[in-house]
Assembly symmetry: C2
Homo-oligomer: 324 residues x 2
């Protein structure tokens, strides 16, 4: 089958591509073609049996979405988007890419009439303060960032387009993905990875928010597992509410740091320097804290059980050693 | 001050116009100009002191929204929209008018930079089944119609644009407005009025759904009161959640008919004929039933206390007699 990934050059896109190539099949069917779309051309893996093509282009620009859908992929992973910090600082860019781009892609699929499975990465930023102690699956979505607004609007389009039979969509609300490999990005959540990643690499990390901040995390590896599971899950089991909050580990920043200390020692932890940043804090304080993700768990989505597990997974996967 | 009403030729738009002209002032300030926009030219009332102008045009068409905002109205009532039944039967029309039209208007206001109060009429169709016994203010919004989806997306835009300071928006989720005067329209909810209005006018009315259906209603007069209150309320009191479910009377269709019987007698009630309609039933069964609208009541929004009151108000206002 043909699989399309938008945002394929991003961190999750690259890990998903690697995984699909390694597995060679999905939902019981062999993957024969892999279309990898991003604004910068993604690296297309060379493997026998899979025709992988990089497709450079911005899905919000005229004609791009139609071209991506032309060959009627059976499965579409829509990961492309502008991150939270940039969506807040550049209003028009965020709406154009995160809303108009998603709608262009969904409309191209609607007009092609071939009804594929569409897996969309949403975010827990669809929720906004004030929150109850634990956020249940039926809690209202009132985002307090433009990014969260754009993600939620995309969720609603996915729900309506699925209900009308234009495609079979599943939206997964990702918690913050930690530990992200590589460099810091413009997401307001970037420091959640930075305070683990930089010290492990012997570098100083800035902590822009108080240590008491509670937040929910899952590893990039779990994100890929969520995506694969969302691609394979039976649509009828999901019902009419097509957007699902994914599980994760809810911890304070202090608890994140404690896990790092247990695994890598006090000298590593000392590389974290507190430097309050009002702009980041203004966004983060409106973010949700802990979730009861019963629905996701009942539908078979799984994640890490502790933050130690997340740190160890990062060391094992990215630093090439066992995290013991 | 200058006031703009979109959808001014509709039932609520006409009643709102009448009320504004009668009051002559709003939020403590005299109304000096009234721009009345609709796809068909609304009737502009001739009154001294108020310059009322009909503005024919579809707000989703290029240039129309910008022209409406050019004179920087201090207050915008955005009522224009395609109704629920038609949004379901004509997918592209609904999205164009209800989503693109709203966004065009909001963007024209954003780009004009004058930060007016914007009052938007949303709908309880933003909620979708399954529901708890009573829907509280923090219950999730998962619409199960394209109309509800478009209204909810507009709410989210209103919230984000307000948060960013482009305007000071209040969205009011109207319950079904009953008894609508005049003829049936294409809204799936049209029969809720029809079964009261037609018998009172000596005509047969069709009931397309079971009598056990529970639904929440408010009168057109209450809708105008909600709009006026939303225009006058202090924005800071409303906080970051700018969309509010309005109060109403939650009753079964049977209880509606009982009220009609008490007020107008059995001969009138006999004019209601049951004729199940699958298309209407399919929409209505996913609609919400009863609400706890504590938030609206705390913010000073008020409606009828019983369905009898709604029927009497209709007779008094539209049939020119006391409903005793």
């Amino acid at each position: 089958m043909r699989v399309l990934i938008t945002g394929a050059a991003g961190m999750v896109g690259r890990k998903l591509t690697e995984r699909l190539v390694k597995d060679g099949r999905l939902a019981g069917r062999p993957i024969t073609a892999l279309d990898l779309s991003d604004v910068v051309p993604p690296t297309a893996p060379q493997v026998p049996g899979i025709k992988a093509r990089p497709r450079a282009g911005d899905v919000s620009m005229p004609g791009i979405a139609e071209a991506l859908i032309e060959k009627k992929p059976s499965l579409v992973f829509h990961l492309a988007g502008i991150v939270s910090g940039e969506s807040e600082s550049n209003f028009e860019l965020g709406y154009r890419v995160n809303l108009d781009g998603t709608r262009a892609l969904f409309d191209a699929i609607r007009l092609s009439g071939h009804n594929p499975r569409v897996v969309f990465t949403s975010s827990i930023a669809v929720f906004g303060a004030p929150f109850p102690e634990v956020i249940h699956d039926d809690f209202q979505q009132v985002p307090l960032t433009s990014y969260g607004t754009q993600k939620l609007i995309s969720e609603l389009l996915l729900n309506d387009y699925s209900r009308r039979g234009f495609f079979d969509g599943i939206g997964i609300r990702l918690p913050t993905l930690v530990v992200r490999p590589g460099k810091a990005n413009k997401a307001a959540s970037s420091f959640f990875s930075g305070i683990i990643r930089e010290p492990l690499n012997g570098q100083e990390a800035l902590l822009p928010v108080p240590r008491s901040v509670v937040h929910t995390h899952a590893s990039p590896r779990s994100a890929v597992n969520f995506l694969i599971h969302a691609a394979e899950i039976e649509g009828a089991k999901v019902g009419t509410r097509r957007n699902i909050t994914m599980p994760g580990v809810g911890v304070t920043v202090e608890e994140q740091i404690d896990a790092l200390r247990r695994i890598a020692g006090e000298d590593v932890v000392k590389l974290i320097r507190e430097e309050p940043d009002e702009a980041v804090w203004k966004i983060v304080q409106n973010w949700p804290t802990r979730f009861d993700t019963s629905r996701a768990r009942e539908l078979g989505f799984t994640a890490e059980q502790s933050f130690d597990e997340i740190v160890k997974g990062y060391i094992e996967e990215e630093l090439g050693e066992r995290g013991e």
